[in-house]
């Protein structure tokens, strides 16, 4: 059923008219100066839009109406943990005692903020089983990169930096793993997955030698499965002199149940915007805390948060530190949100996160088993990876099923990842979704799978309910338009 077409929103540049302004800005009450004598040559005015405050608010409100977030509806994007972001987090992070702090203020004036970061670190140490946590990395991939830098510095300190040039990455890994390894100057080799969805131990053993710096393992894996041999894997890599990194994107499956530090890992990254409910913000800011064992502690990024009798301090004088990895102290306001979340759940509540997340994923997998089979027939953890390959004979691909879900009012799951599963649909419901929501979602998918047999064009032509249908991505590259001024100014002539 074709919905009423909504006209495409105008760009903000087309709403601009000379002389309007969207804010009553503060103006200096100091004496006038001659600009040119103060700063030299002055540029022509910057062509930012001129728009009243109401029109500005309407512009962005209307744009928000054509954007889907967790608060709009179910968002089962696998590997991204799109759980509810509690309102109290935002309220706490808006306190002026946190927002109006300069990052280079004297340390005695920011003791409350340092205590927040310290408290988050304490929670995360206990939840992950690592001896040290640093909040310096600002996103997940940044945390991966920082962990690899620690590993590089560790091998350097043992005189093995020149020989250990290889990082092993499973064929099921997130793209950021090999990209981060390359960014740290490493050669990347891919480790295969066995028929049961675990790391192929024999293949791994054959790749382990004195050239290996690290093995990057996602646990639970991107297949949503617990890596059952993880302890043995860590021992094998350690026996060969390598280090083992845990990609913590899937920590939501393990909170209060099992700890990566106890599995044998040397370091891990966490996505506070996944497991610990800081909002995803349309693609960031993230927050990429990392955990590490004692032997990597001397290399921690600078500065290191320390606690003394006199209060909290920032130690930037450690001789073996890899150095600074971001401008200041990581995502401080995200740490406030994470602490709010962790403190709300507390000791008795935290394990319920992983339990309910795992129930939800297994429930979806069970309800869909006839329509969309699981890639591996094992209990899944916090997400399930299903395959749409039964419908390929009708010319239906995973993407078509995903696009049709939009017409049913749901955000699609992750498509075509992990790469080793054909026609993958990766569904992560999270613990904050009710049985009713999951039932409605599963009912929709079952209906769509019937449509795939009876009326495949419904899927090919989906979605039909949004202001745009499928976009011409080849044309987007061929006729590259990434800057309105470069492409449209002359045509519109308004400016």
């Amino acid at each position: 059923m074709r919905m009423k077409a909504v006209p495409a929103p105008q760009s903000v540049f087309e709403k601009s008219s000379p002389g309007r302004i969207g804010c009553n800005l503060p103006k200096a009450d100091t004496p006038q100066v001659d600009l040119a004598s103060a700063v030299g040559r002055v540029r022509a005015a910057v062509e930012w839009p001129e728009i009243s405050e109401l029109d500005l608010i309407r512009h962005f409100t209307n744009l928000s109406h054509v954007n889907y977030g967790i608060e709009t509806g179910f968002y089962p994007l696998g590997s991204c943990t799109m759980k509810y972001n509690p309102k109290i987090n935002e309220k706490a992070a808006s306190l002026p005692g946190f927002t109006a702090l300069h990052p280079m203020q004297p340390v005695p004036t920011v003791q409350g903020m340092l205590e927040v970061i310290w408290e988050v670190q304490s929670f995360l140490k206990e939840i992950t089983g690592f001896e040290e946590i640093t909040m310096q990395p600002v996103a997940g991939a940044h945390g991966e990169l920082t962990c690899l830098m620690l590993i590089k510095a560790y091998h350097d300190s043992k005189g093995e930096g020149e020989t250990r040039k290889v990082v092993l990455v499973p064929d099921s890994a997130h793209g950021t793993n090999p990209a981060s390894a390359a960014r740290c100057g490493y050669e990347v080799k891919s480790v295969p997955t066995d028929a049961n969805g675990n790391t192929d131990i024999a293949a791994l053993q054959s790749m382990l030698d004195g050239s290996v710096a690290a093995f990057m393992v996602t646990n639970p894996s991107t297949l949503g499965l617990f890596e059952v041999n993880i302890h043995e894997i860590c021992e094998m890599v350690h026996a060969a002199g390598g280090q083992v990194f845990c990609d913590g994107a899937n920590m939501n499956a393990m909170v209060g149940t099992t700890r990566p530090g106890d599995h044998g890992f040397d370091c891990m990254h966490l996505n506070l915007h996944k497991t610990f409910s800081t909002p995803h913000g349309g693609g960031g800011p993230g927050c990429g805390a990392i955990g590490l064992k004692r032997h990597l502690e001397p290399f921690m990024p600078s500065p290191v948060l320390v606690r003394a009798d006199s209060g909290f301090g920032l130690d930037a004088t450690r001789p073996l530190s890899i150095g600074r990895v971001s401008s200041f102290h990581g995502q401080a306001l995200m740490a406030v949100r994470a602490l709010t979340y962790l403190s709300a759940y507390g000791q008795e509540g935290l394990p319920e996160i992983s339990k309910s997340a795992v129930i939800n994923a297994n429930y979806v997998k069970a309800r869909l088993k006839d329509a969309l089979p699981a890639a591996y027939d094992r209990p899944c953890m916090h997400e399930c990876v299903l395959t749409a390959s039964p419908y390929k004979k009708n010319g239906i691909r995973a993407l078509d099923i995903s696009k049709r879900l939009i017409d049913y009012g749901f955000h699609p799951p992750t498509n075509y990842f992990p790469l080793i599963v054909p026609e993958a649909l990766m569904i992560e419901p999270t613990e904050t979704e009710s049985k009713e929501t999951l039932d409605a979602f599963c009912d929709a998918l079952i209906e769509i799978c019937k449509e795939a047999e009876t009326d495949p064009d419904l899927l090919h032509n989906a979605p039909q309910t949004q202001i745009v249908g499928r976009l011409d991505e080849a044309a987007a590259v061929k006729n590259l338009d990434v800057n309105w001024h470069a492409t449209h100014r002359d045509k519109v002539g308004a400016l």
Binding site: G22, E50, G69, T72, Q111, T258
Partner: protein
Amino acid sequence: MPYIPHTEEDRRQMLETIGVQAVEDLFREIPPSLRLKRPLNVPKGLDEHRLYGHLRDLSEKNVDLSRVTCFLGAGIYDRYIPSSVGAVISRGEFLTAYTPYQPEVSQGLLQTIYEFQSMVAELYGMDVSNASMYDGATAIAEAAIMATYVTKRRVVAVSEAIHPHYRQVLDTYCWSMGIEVRGLPAASGATEDLDSLGQDVAAVVVQYPNFFGTIEDLGAVKDAARRVGAMFLVSADPIACGVLPPPGEFDADIVTGEGQPLGIPMGFGGPLLGLFTCKREFVRQIPGRIVGRTTDHEGRPGYTMTLRTREQDIRREKATSNICTNEALMGVAATVYMCAVGKNGLRSVAESTVRNTQYALQKLTEAGGKQRFKGKVFGEFVLDLPRSATAVRDALLAKGILAGLPLGPYYPGMENSLLVAVTEIRTKSEIDQFAAELKSALAQ
């Protein structure tokens, strides 16, 4: 917990559908030796009232800038944030979305990012902007690494007058990739020794205005870079570019910056907003997301992430960067800011900054400080004092004035130097009071 909706009955029915007796059965694949068999050793949960009280108490242990007058800058500035910014970025449709992998349900965010890219490119006088980097420091590091890919050279020459933290981050990133970083001295307050560049240099990096507030001679830096075939990289303050000729007018190849002054709270330095722009010819080497405008199958205009074959989820170890999540929501904040102040508001903010800075320079000099460097400044300057800048800073803090950044810890020999920033929101009376307190502090 209000965040978990399951009732006992829900759980029972769900476990029955799954075909297990108990939740624990779902965890049976975890080897028993790896299971946590005790409660987590963390505090008990707090109800929402006590939770808010706990966080409020922690926040009140800080001396925030509602309690002191801020003359501290150094890359993060106390500027006015229009109310519309917070109103827009707290909308759940933006706040709780993720990376717009599904463009049909993400047009709002995609169009906003396209508008962001357009306005940032216009500000810097560049062809192309990406959808954001983490912060000003990592944006410089990414730009330098990109220059090593483009030029196939392995040395980066960087001014000693860039933010010391930016230099430290650049050093960390370059160490891990085996790229050499060479410093260009700036004892005069501006970048020197431009004739010393070798033919092995991939990029020359300067800040504009530089860390000391001095407006660098970009034309001279560009000429020096061109003589050796190096790329010309600038980290530029966005508000300064409201009056100064933008780096694009000097033929810069890559221009980065810290977007915090565009409507983002200082927030103890995070989250911030890395700006990244370049010439069109380098667009396929850009790190991170880029949004493009195109059409759907019926010819309707729409927006989508584009040039995706540069990115880690497609190219893996051959990607132009490992960045995935960026600072999208801070990009939305900056977009609202840029629209709210608009063409005339930006000029007004920048001009007010210049007026306040010139006035503070005059008053603080009269009070016993001395401007250390000769060049023209925007928004910030180095004041030499007759005694330790840290001691003076601490004395003024007791009077409710956050006087600036003592430079001794960053530049040996500058123990008596204070970096002072003056934004558009400072008033004549605040500056007068700063001068009076400085005079009395120096008299003691």
